[in-house]
């Protein structure tokens, strides 16, 4: 006789489903519509609930957790403002294809549409910034919908999924049956690439005289770092990573030519401009990467590998498109390349590398090391040295983000955690908290700026409550640095509302939250301060570095310019062609 199924209330089903899905952490904030669920959370200990201080913090923390672990981040918020506060974090995850499952409370089904207290059309509001969303109208659909949500969020090109649960659904009861597998007739992501296309790509790859490998966040999402590294080493071709793809190939490897794009290295961008075969792997030709599309890779035949067909040839026409999971396609490519009689053109490649080294000799990332005032680049460089390049580093958005990307070479995937697509200030601190919860024994640093940092500063409380000792390095230049930089370049130095007046005393602020605060004003004190902070293993430390106010991020391609039209520094201000 079949085992009789249990009858459970919706709120119990919610908790059991998370447990059966293997979820360990739930980031959330209670409120009226989710109180039945919170009552059940109180009675169980399979899932640890992390009480954030603002719903935006919940989504960013879950997002950081997901980026570091490769597992879905899970969020629970209430209806109305709980849901709307979560939207920025949902959109952040959407733009970077991060698997999140966000549960939002909703008013009871009979109240929906009545402008009830704390009611918003959560499905409507989140529709454009989720991979998919569900409104659960009947408790009988709850378990299956949760399974679908996790499946959709984590498969194919990952992304956030919202599940909106009305309060009465959490009170109603039904048999509990959590499906092991789910099959959706309307959703079947491609995994294997087309063998004919892969063969064609292999042929083109081997015919290249000036090849470039350009890989993005898709490699990290597909957990294909090993395959990418093997593929690149097999060929010996130069490789560049996008901002989202850093760490997928070891940055200290001699084949790595740095990040590309607006603030990428000279050699990476010139390599893009002059290459004859471009191998794009899990990268989406974002405008910050391509610059002016008219001038993009004018001499190249382009191969693009992506799991999402709509990413292929969206911005740039592609010669050999391959739809498939990057990991599978690379594995197939590697096995073809290994058995292929043809080999890369060693002579042409030698010439190409010589050209690369000439470009590299310009030392595009050099900065003034003689000043006593703290150069922000120096802080990042020291952090890299002192953590032996092995920390998890989150960032916010702006100049400090670019310096982190330029001066902290990542050798492993999932270590560099930032909001690339949406560019969300306030991301870094909660994201670091999420990472630290996933990896309590690892060093987790948040490189931020004084403007970004305060956008989610309230999460310092959460850090204390759940004992997540992260190290925050605030590069404090008393400006919204990137805004100031653009105003200097493009608005004749009219610094309209980019100056941060009336800043708090960050040391006292850290202390008032129960953490350690430091203020560092001289270049010679940087190393000591970071050492001291890292030694305080069980404390969250906020390092307030008073940095050079006028430092700009170089090199730079101005918006609308081509890869070959880079500015290297302000004193020469030369455009190189």
């Amino acid at each position: 006789m079949a085992k009789k199924k249990e009858i459970l209330r919706g709120a119990e089903i919610f908790c059991r489903a998370l447990k059966d899905e293997g979820i360990k952490h739930l980031f959330g904030y209670p409120g009226g519509a989710v109180l039945h669920i919170y009552d059940e959370l109180y009675k169980q200990d399979a899932v640890e609930h992390i009480l954030v201080r603002h719903e935006q913090g919940a989504t960013h923390a879950a997002d950081g957790y997901a980026r570091a672990t490769g597992k879905p981040g899970v969020v629970l918020v209430t209806s109305g403002p709980g849901a709307t506060n979560a939207v920025t974090g949902i959109a952040t995850a959407f733009m970077d294809s991060i698997p999140l499952v966000v549960f939002t409370g909703q008013v009871s089904t009979h109240m929906i549409g009545n402008d009830a207290f704390q009611e918003v059309d959560c499905i409507g509001i989140t529709r454009p910034c989720v991979k998919h969303n569900f409104l659960v109208k009947d408790v009988k659909d709850l378990a299956e919908t949760i399974k679908k949500a996790f499946y959709v969020a984590t498969s194919g090109r990952p992304g956030p999924v919202v599940v909106d649960i009305p309060k009465d659904v959490t009170a109603d009861s039904c048999e509990y049956d959590y499906p092991k597998n789910i099959d959706l007739r309307s959703y079947r992501p491609v995994v294997k690439g087309h063998p004919g296309q892969i063969k064609k790509a292999a042929k083109l790859i081997l015919s290249a005289k000036k090849p470039m490998i350009y890989s993005g966040g898709g490699v990290i999402l597909s957990e294909a770092s090993k395959e990418l590294t093997e593929f690149s080493r097999l060929l010996g071709y130069p490789i560049t990573n996008t901002l989202m793809g850093l760490g997928a190939f070891p940055a200290t490897d001699k084949q790595f030519v740095g990040m590309l794009g607006m603030h990428g290295t000279y050699e990476a961008n010139m390599g893009m401009h002059h290459c004859d075969v471009l191998i794009a792997i899990g990268a989406r030709f974002d405008d910050r990467v391509t610059g002016d599309l008219e001038k993009f890779c004018p001499y190249a035949k382009i191969i693009q590998i992506d799991v999402d067909p709509s990413s292929i040839a969206k911005n740039v026409p592609v010669d050999v498109p391959i739809v498939g999971d990057v990991k599978h396609v690379l594995t197939d490519l590697i096995s073809i390349l290994k058995t292929e009689k043809d080999k890369p053109d060693a002579k042409a490649l030698k010439e190409w590398w010589k050209q690369m080294h000439d470009w590299k000799a310009l030392d595009c990332l050099k900065f003034d090391r003689t000043t006593d005032v703290i150069k922000p680049q120096y802080v990042v460089e020291k952090l890299w040295e002192l953590t032996k390049g092995d920390a998890y580093v989150t960032s916010d958005v702006g100049q400090h983000q670019m310096w982190a990307a330029q001066f902290y070479p990542f050798d492993k995937p999932n270590r560099w955690i930032n909001s690339g697509g949406l560019g969300t200030m306030g991301f870094g601190l909660p994201a670091a908290m999420g990472v630290k919860l996933a990896f309590p024994d690892e060093t987790v640093a948040c490189i931020s700026g004084e403007a970004s940092l305060v956008m989610c500063i309230q999460e310092l409380s959460t850090c204390l409550q759940y004992n997540t000792p992260i190290k925050i390095l605030s590069l404090n230049n008393r400006y919204m640095g990137m805004v100031r930089q653009w105003q200097e370049f493009f608005y004749s130095s009219r610094y309209s509302h980019s100056y941060m007046e009336a800043l708090p005393d960050f040391v006292k602020m850290a202390e008032s939250y129960g953490h350690v605060g430091m203020r560092i004003e001289k270049s010679s004190d940087v190393e000591g301060a970071i050492k001291e902070a890292l030694a305080l293993k069980d404390r969250t430390v906020l390092m307030d570095f008073v940095t050079d106010q006028t430092e700009n991020v170089y090199p730079m391609i101005a918006a609308g310019k081509g890869h070959h039209e880079m500015h290297l520094s302000s004193d020469t201000d030369r455009e190189l062609a």
Binding site: R127, P128, H132, S186, S310, A313, K314, P317
Partner: protein
Amino acid sequence: MRHILSLLMENEAGALSRVSGLFSARAYNIESLTVAPTEDPTVSRMTVVTSGSEQIIEQIGKQLNKLVDVIKVVDLNEYRHIERELMLIKLTAQKEFRDEAKRMVEIFRGRIIDVTENTYTIEMTGTGEKLDAFIEALDDSMILEVVRSGVSGISRGDKAIQS
């Protein structure tokens, strides 16, 4: 160029808004959009008439396919196909104009489906062009109301687009 896209999608609440939202969010054109359930009540058929360069049309197809509720997307322009649209049109039809209105309806193979002392209501199907031609053939002052269904399309021959 004008394209007719035929979609099969899950007959779920909100599916229509996912499609219309996609078109507005990505600034794609919609000339017309029709939707109704098929012989399988869990599946809806949507017909979207849109226009754009080949590259845009390709993107629209891919973006529609990416929607989790969408089962299938077919560009009917790639097939030999038939398109039809239904129009209901109300005309003033008084005294000496009554006969002329009736003749026009016959020429265009419409049907008069409601009659009052002053008006005719006409049902007419055909391609959008034919319906346009009928409207143009009438004196503007005769037209009281026009209701058009938007385009439905189906491929010719044995091939059927099924889920």
